[in-house]
């Protein structure tokens, strides 16, 4: 049974002058999939993700996100995706509820929906009673979970996570991935970039970008088998060692 494709990319390219940041990448992501987008710094991951989020116009090639074209329908794309940045995208000097209300409101949720979602979120994250707590008082692991929950507060089709687990301990990361699984089970597609190769093993499929191209695209199990590797770490080193570009 063919599952619905929420992201499609065909020969997607981005050039900045002479420099080709993203070089004719091809891939698809299915609905509800957890798709890992791996690559070293400077490989072109961030640029590719920007194009998919409607922040950057491609130089050539085709791509659709949630069924909308990345050239002409960026407004619709933005309405249907969520985003969590590396720095967790929460306002430290605002309270938890204020953050929720802000982001939910930005995505056009009605006041009643916002209230519903707020109490639901607080319960899910075991943060009842902490409505008025400033985000800066939360430990890092909690901020991370909150940021993710807020990123999907409007139940988007896809959520883009840009290095979401930086600086967090392994236990907290496990819990975080629990949230991701739950979201995936609800039908939200997860597009995640990460440096942590053990996390790559949590994904349904991963792609590895090297020097602007996708050099591998398969499930972690298949990749490990194909490269005779015991872990995704090894697979990655195997592929990335060929890289010419380093650094962002």
């Amino acid at each position: 049974m063919q599952k619905e494709k929420v992201i499609t990319a065909k020969d997607l390219t981005k050039r900045f002058g002479d420099f080709t940041a993203v070089d004719k990448i091809n891939f698809d992501v299915e609905k509800g999939e957890i798709f890992g987008f791996l690559g070293a710094n400077g490989a072109g991951k961030t640029t590719a993700m920007r194009m998919l989020c409607g922040l950057l116009l491609p130089t050539s090639g085709l791509a659709t996100v949630a069924g909308f074209d990345v050239y002409k329908q960026t407004e619709q794309i933005k309405k249907n995706i969520g985003y969590m940045s590396q720095k967790f995208s929460l306002y430290e000097d605002l309270t938890i509820t204020e953050n929720i209300r802000f982001y939910a409101g930005i995505y056009g949720l009605s006041n009643e929906r916002i209230k519903e979602k707020t109490s639901l979120l607080l319960k899910q994250l075991h943060l009842e009673g902490q409505e008025k707590t400033l985000v800066k008082a939360l430990p890092l692991g909690w901020k991370q979970k909150l940021a993710f929950s807020i990123a999907i507060v409007h139940e988007p089709a896809i959520v883009f996570l840009d290095e979401p687990t930086g600086g967090v301990d392994p236990v907290a990361r496990r819990e975080f991935w629990g949230l991701i699984y739950a979201a995936s089970a609800r039908g939200i597609t997860i597009f995640v970039t990460t440096h942590y190769m053990d996390e790559a093993e949590y994904c349904n499929r991963v792609s590895v970008m090297v020097d602007g191209r996708i050099d591998a695209l398969d499930s972690p199990a298949n990749l490990m088998r194909d490269h005779s590797a015991a872990s995704m770490d090894e697979v990655f080193l195997h592929l990335a060692r060929k890289a010419v570009r380093t650094g962002d």
Binding site: K78, I81, S89, Y91
Partner: protein, 368 residues
């Protein structure tokens, strides 16, 4: 629209939660007005002087009494030799010394000529000038009173009338200057910092991904500072009128309208700066260097522009606060109407449109 308001509300929360900055934003103009109004003044009062009276006759005593009684002078010492005078000056005890020669009255009445020597400490040339002028005018008054009994062939009386500010209060020129300074600072600097802060924190990316249009984001960031500025203007005006006795002679409505225009000009500059600044420190530094200092130096409220070399005068035309200062003075102090400020207003409008246009263009480029 609802999204826009939510964003504005968030911006308000940011400002409100940062109590220290808010405190400075609201109190700074008030403190500045009070400082300029009371503590810092160009007027020279109670200057210490000494008198070296070698005649001690009716004339010299009368003149000495008049001078000592004046609020500009404070007679601290009677000296008895030129050496004494030098020593007292060197000790920094006096700013001016008055020397009456011997036989002053006799010379005055019999040969119709008498001299008085005024020696002033010109290491502060402006004060020296002012003091000698004050003293000379007191001496002239005495001469006048003598001459009233005699006929002089030709007399020219100069009648001086100080328009708009008869008491020559320094506050009249400072208040508009402080308004320009405060608005520039609050609007431009704080706005640029607020926008760049978002970039630094990483939340700007998230907002750009959201359905909120970038232009609305920028405007939403400036709205709270617009309101804070209006609050500042009102507090400055209230202080001026009720505490400094600087009246608002012209139309209050026009004053507020022009101030709002200038606020928008400053906000546009803030937005422009935020486009290129990557860190809050850069934003702050750029604002200070390109706005605060030029406003201080080139708006005309501390140093008259007409006295500057032509090159600098031309530069001063680019500084928006110069035009605002002229407008405010015309309305507030001279009580003039729109007919006399329309040219300056047009210049501000042109500047604002250009700035906004460039900012929007640059912002769109960044996303393309």
């Amino acid at each position: 629209m609802k999204q826009f308001l939510i964003f504005v509300k968030k911006e308000w929360l940011h400002i409100w939660r940062d109590r220290r900055t808010l405190f400075i934003l609201i109190w700074m103009p008030i403190v500045q007005i009070i400082l300029y109004g009371f503590a810092l003044t160009n007027e020279v009062k109670n200057s210490n002087i000494a008198i070296f009276d070698q005649s001690k006759d009716e004339a010299t005593t009368t003149i000495s009494d008049e001078i000592a009684a004046s609020r500009y002078f404070n007679l601290v010492k009677n000296v008895y030799s030129y050496n004494d005078i030098s020593a007292t000056f060197r000790q920094g005890k006096i700013r001016m010394a008055i020397v009456f020669p011997r036989n002053f009255r006799y010379d005055l009445l019999h040969s119709n000529h008498a001299q008085i020597q005024l020696i002033a400490d010109a290491s502060d040339p402006n004060t020296a000038n002012t003091l000698t002028n004050y003293a000379s005018s007191i001496i002239n008054d005495y001469q006048q009173s003598l001459n009233n009994n005699e006929e002089l062939p030709y007399t020219i009386k100069t009648q001086v009338r100080m328009l708009y500010n008869p008491e020559l209060k320094g506050a009249y020129s400072f208040v508009p200057g402080v308004m320009a300074l405060v608005l520039m600072l609050v609007c431009a600097m704080m706005t640029s910092i607020a926008i760049v802060k978002e970039k630094e924190m990483g939340t700007m990316e998230v907002i750009l991904v959201s359905p909120l249009k970038p232009f609305r984001i920028i405007i939403a960031k400036t709205v709270p500072y617009l309101l804070v500025s209006l609050l500042n203007i009102i507090s400055i005006l209230l202080l001026s009128v009720y505490v400094l006795d600087v009246p608002i002679v012209g139309s209050l409505f026009l004053l507020m309208a022009e101030s709002t225009l200038f606020t928008i000009t400053s906000l546009s500059i803030g937005i422009l700066i935020s486009n290129s600044a990557k860190t809050q420190q850069t934003a702050m530094f750029t604002s200070l260097m390109s706005l605060f200092l030029p406003t201080l130096l080139f708006s005309g409220f501390l140093f008259p522009i007409e006295n500057m070399p032509v090159a600098l005068q031309i530069i001063s035309n680019i500084v928006p606060s110069k035009w605002y200062y002229i407008i405010i003075k015309n309305i507030m102090i001279k009580g003039l109407g729109f007919e006399s400020v329309w040219r300056e207003t047009m210049i501000l409008v042109a500047m604002t449109s250009a700035l906004l246009g460039i900012s929007i263009y640059k912002f769109k480029i960044r996303l393309a």
